[in-house]
């Protein structure tokens, strides 16, 4: 009997992993706090460097937020900018880390702080929820072949969907390019795509 209703199950998964990550982050935060107290007591001159690391990590958090917003609004341009910003912040973070590692006095504090804040544990529920919700609902055509049932499919870049009319009239046809084409100017490549497709259609017909 045909189902009369359509159901999407929404579930939150991975909370155990989040808890484990948060507990681990909390332990690192304890270490960070203790190390900073010790540094303050000693009046170490590299303290500003540790503070710089904290600011950089905050920037990283903002970058992550921006990527998330771009994903939410499905804005590809904003996503690219946000990702570039994240790359630049991470590069900066790596440099700060290198400087910190060179100073044994601050290494423990820096490592503890960065372990706490750059663990990315706040991203875990995002990734898990995003993955879990979609995987159960959308069918994939990763192995190709005919589509047996009308519905929504997960298609990837580079895959082709051939209309039924073309399949019955001409059979499926594919346009392939030599590997060197990939190194050509993209605008030129796209300009040439139309005529190539037209030639393929004429030959197939």
């Amino acid at each position: 009997m045909m189902e009369t209703s359509l159901t999407y199950t929404v579930s939150v998964t991975g909370l155990d992993q989040v808890k484990a990550q948060a507990d681990s982050a909390a332990r690192s935060a304890d270490l960070a706090s203790n190390s900073i107290s010790a540094l303050q007591g000693q009046g170490v001159r590299t303290m500003p460097l540790v503070m710089n690391a904290l600011q950089t990590v905050t920037s990283l958090h903002h970058s992550v937020e921006n990527v998330t917003k771009a994903l939410q609004t499905m804005n590809p341009e904003a996503m690219v900018y946000a990702l570039l910003s994240m790359v630049s912040v991470v590069t900066n973070l790596m440099q700060v880390m290198r400087l910190l590692r060179e100073s044994t006095a601050t290494a423990a504090a820096a490592q503890a702080i960065l372990d706490t804040l750059t663990g990315g544990w706040w991203l875990i529920p995002l990734a898990i929820t995003a993955g879990a919700l979609i995987a159960s609902s959308v069918r994939s055509m990763q192995t190709g072949g005919p589509i047996q049932e009308t519905g929504i499919y997960l298609l990837h870049r580079g895959e082709y969907v051939v209309p039924t009319s073309s399949v019955s009239n001409y059979g499926p046809f594919y346009v392939s390019f030599p590997e060197s084409s990939l190194r050509l100017d993209m605008n030129r490549f796209l300009r040439e795509l139309g005529p190539r497709l037209a030639r393929q259609v004429r030959r197939a017909a």
């Binding site: 045909m2 189902e3 009369t4 209703s5 359509l6 159901t7 999407y8 199950t9 929404v10 579930s11 939150v12 998964t13 909370l15 989040v18 808890k19 948060a22 507990d23 982050a25 909390a26 332990r27 935060a29 304890d30 960070a32 706090s33 900073i36 107290s37 904290l54 998330t68 994903l71 939410q72 702080i113 706490t116 706040w122 529920p125 995002l126 929820t129 995003a130 919700l133 979609i134 609902s137 959308v138 009308t150 519905g151 929504i152």
Partner: protein, 126 residues
């Protein structure tokens, strides 16, 4: 509006442990998914409105909720028949294109839901 909570390094571990303790309770309370229903109704194509009216959520467990369209005794006022065409509208048929209103709602709301859970767990929202 953005709410930011400033936490000192000395109290960071306490805050993070609170997240660990609160997250399950918060996730359970966030699964009523009222906004998801609203989103699905916004995306749902409307002719008589019967399909849109049939969109609802049913709690299946502490961390699981079903978003449902069609069935449930809803009747189309024009045909006087049950609303049993949700899948055809959503997934499309050989004659009509898919209009995946449930999937669109889930896609548009899933990150917001995750962020809401984290914000609530982190004490950034009440």
């Amino acid at each position: 509006m953005k709410i930011t909570k400033a936490v000192g390094v000395d109290s960071l571990s306490v805050e993070i442990r609170l997240i660990s303790e609160r997250i399950e309770v918060v996730a359970t309370s966030s699964m009523s998914l009222d906004r998801l229903v609203i989103s699905a109704k916004v995306f749902c194509p409307v002719s008589t409105g019967a399909l849109m009216d049939s969109i609802r959520v049913e709690r299946r467990g502490p961390l699981e909720t079903a978003l449902i369209a069609g069935g449930g005794g809803h009747i189309n006022p024009r045909t006087r028949r049950p609303v049993d065409y949700a899948r055809h509208v959503h997934d499309g048929t050989s004659r009509v294109p898919p209009r995946p209103f449930l999937l669109q709602a889930v896609l548009s709301e899933q990150l917001r839901l995750a962020m809401e859970i984290m914000d609530l767990a982190g004490g950034l929202m009440q």
